[in-house]
């Protein structure tokens, strides 16, 4: 029964993806679970609001009806859909990369690392303090009591995580509802999806070899890799945020609308897992607004902003509606007036610098990123698009630092946060740095040339 829950989450994700466009098998594999799980958590939240208990039966009904509605066309006119599927380009559907032995070796290393983190995830129960006292505990009790406003909230028996947007806690609750003894299947599947999504999108932007090497280095960023085996929100949020941004770049490069819709969904879910997800939403909005305004489309950027920020807004309304109970779990407040305390800003910058240049946290990421910028200097000057890409990659980082500067902290000092938590804040930026480094013109060109050199013999007529 437990795995049925996971399968239907995948199936819901596949149904949503199939509705927004024709994706490859690899893309289905990467995006289905995060989108399906995200949609289920929204369903759970809506159930809770209208007073339907969050339980196995109600979820099976809700997800079942959603899948039926999403596949309405397939059900009412299966012949037409099958005809379309038959005429589809199968080669494109099954494309996972241009074959060569070097690529295969990298695939082997990536699968080995993925297996390693998955085994660790599935073996160890939750033991991280944050998750024990917040997300996993909250998820467990939501599953047991069938509601979000449960005894933990009334008796203040849960940590700050209760005030976080509920995607993660509800995902863990979902695993318990479907009978898992431990909830670690959820971070395991999120991380696998993260790696596949990143690679699938990189394939649309750079050569196969460039894509696989960037994927290996992004996933092997030690801190990100290690945190993917504990049960907290950071890696999952990095996935939603960074994949949302890369999807909008992919839309701009390929002009295929399905990637824009994908970006909207991923960014919306990124705001449904941690409130600071707004930094990714803001960066993507500015990028989309820049492109739209050049085409004299003035309404679209606002529709984009509303769609991506909707879950975040929904959660803020929910918190306000339950302020008497939820306020005790809110960790920070936002200072609207700009905080111009130079010393405070320096403390944030120093903390961020310590994370980025730490000997272990992100491996060679920052140095490769600098190298890519230097290699790309001429194109940054000559091609406006290249400069815009760099700005959008850096925007979430800048916005994050600004946001940290504006926070009024209730639970910790800024030094404490920068020392213990900041390393987790930057996972999404690390992912974007690898995207940027792989797609700059000289690097892209270099790996494309190697790929051609390594390709299988061409069939001669």
């Amino acid at each position: 029964m437990s795995y049925l829950g996971i399968i239907i989450a995948f199936f819901l994700g596949v149904s949503i993806l199939a509705l927004i466009g024709k994706f490859s098998l690899l893309e289905f594999f990467g995006f289905s679970f995060p989108i399906g799980m995200g949609a289920i958590t929204i369903l759970m939240f809506l159930f809770d609001i209208i007073g339907i208990g969050i339980a196995r039966n109600s979820l099976l009904w809700g997800i079942g009806l959603s899948v039926l509605a999403l596949n309405y066309k397939l059900i009412t006119n299966p012949g037409d859909r099958l005809r379309k599927f038959r005429t589809k380009n199968f080669k494109e559907f099954f494309f996972v990369g241009k074959f060569n032995l070097v690529w295969l070796a990298f695939v082997g290393v990536i699968l080995f690392l993925l297996a390693g983190v998955t085994i660790k995830n599935l073996y160890w129960p939750t033991a991280a303090s944050d998750s024990l006292s917040s997300f996993d505990l909250y998820g467990k009790v939501i599953a047991a009591e069938g509601k979000m406003m449960n005894s933990l909230i009334y008796e203040k028996r849960v940590g700050w995580g209760a005030a976080y947007p509920p995607l993660y806690a509800l995902s863990l609750a979902y695993s318990y509802i479907f009978g898992f003894e431990m909830s670690k299947i959820i971070p395991a599947l999120f991380f696998i999806s993260f790696v596949f999504s990143f690679y699938a999108l990189m394939l649309r932007n750079v050569s196969t070899l460039g894509a696989i090497i960037a994927t290996l280095f992004f996933m092997a960023s030690p801190e990100l890799y290690a945190q993917s085996a504990i049960n907290t929100t950071s890696v999952t949020q990095a996935m939603y945020g960074s994949i949302g941004i890369i999807a909008i770049f992919t839309w701009n490069n390929t002009k295929q609308n399905k990637y824009l819709l994908l970006s909207v969904i991923m960014l919306a879910l990124n705001g449904w897992i941690r409130s600071e997800g707004i930094v990714y939403i803001g960066a993507a909005f500015l990028f989309y607004a820049y492109i739209s305004i050049r085409k004299k489309e003035f309404v679209k950027p606002f529709l984009f902003l509303i769609a991506t920020a909707l879950p975040f807004i929904l959660w803020q309304i929910y918190l306000k509606a339950h302020i008497d109970l939820m306020d005790q779990f809110v960790q920070v407040e936002i200072n609207i007036l700009p905080n111009l305390d130079g010393d405070y800003i320096m403390r944030i910058l120093r903390g961020a610098g310590k994370s980025f240049y730490h000997k272990i946290y992100y491996g060679i990421t920052i140095y490769v990123f600098y190298g890519a910028i230097v290699l790309n200097l001429i194109w940054l000057y000559l091609k406006k698009e290249s400069l815009i890409t760099l700005i959008v990659v850096l925007l979430p980082l800048i916005a994050y630092l600004v946001l940290l500067n504006q926070l009024v902290l209730r639970a910790d000092s800024i030094e404490g946060i920068m020392r213990s938590s900041a390393k987790r804040f930057f996972f999404g930026m690390i992912t974007l740095m690898w995207y940027y480094s792989a797609q700059v013109y000289p690097v892209k060109r270099f790996f494309t040339a190697i790929e051609v050199y390594l390709a299988t013999p061409e069939k001669t007529k």
């Binding site: 660790k120 003894e181 431990m182 092997a220 040339a449």
Partner: protein, 202 residues
């Protein structure tokens, strides 16, 4: 020499052959499977050498191998059949085993009086009992039982309804309405004498 190469070039042009640079061979896939293997091997070795030196010269990726892989997998290999409770004990220590003990020996409806922070902090550091001071951490292990703390104002409503006392470092016996002869260091005891039976030592 120059003249001869120029004349060769002209000859080719006259014959209508396509002119190609001498590097053209690198810009196309190999024509044979043997060439394909050779090229892949060559580039593979180059990548291997580059990545190997990168790996040897950075601490971070070694950390993945040493801490993440070796330490974890040696443990997992040795203790493949551990239950979830045993894994938790192995991961977070004595506190897990103590709270699991309390859970096992109390009913779901139990309201358990926990010791004050000063007592918990006085426990041998090797036991790593610090999380016991946190109601949230204790609740993770004990739910639906309610651990209550005198320091928390929101728990005051439960203090009169306490059904069990968590004994830590022999502290807590004074809250029992009866005298206990054999005082063990860590256990949980029901307040109601009828429910005592024989309490166990943890």
């Amino acid at each position: 020499m120059k003249k001869s190469s120029k004349s060769k070039y002209k000859k080719h042009r006259k014959k209508g052959k396509e002119t190609t640079s001498k590097y053209e061979v690198f810009k196309r896939p190999s024509k044979t499977w043997f060439g394909f293997l050779l090229r892949n091997l060559l580039i593979g070795i180059v990548f291997f050498v580059v990545f190997q030196s990168l790996y040897n010269n950075t601490q971070s990726y070694k950390w993945i191998e040493n801490v993440f892989f070796h330490e974890n997998y040696n443990f997992i290999k040795k203790h493949r059949n551990f239950t979830t409770d045993q894994k938790l004990q192995a991961k977070i220590g004595y506190i897990a085993s103590y709270l699991q003990f309390i859970k096992k020996h109390t009913p779901d409806s139990a309201i358990i009086l926990m010791p004050p922070d000063s007592i918990i902090k006085g426990v041998d550091k090797r036991h790593k009992m610090d999380w016991l001071t946190s109601k949230r951490h204790a609740t993770y292990f004990l739910y639906p039982r309610k651990p209550v703390y005198q320091k928390n104002p929101e728990d005051s409503v439960y203090l009169k309804k306490v059904t069990h006392v968590a004994i830590v470092n022999k502290f807590g016996y004074q809250y029992l309405p009866f005298r206990v002869k054999n005082k063990v260091a860590f256990t949980v005891i029901p307040v109601d004498t009828k429910k005592i039976g024989r309490y166990k030592k943890h």
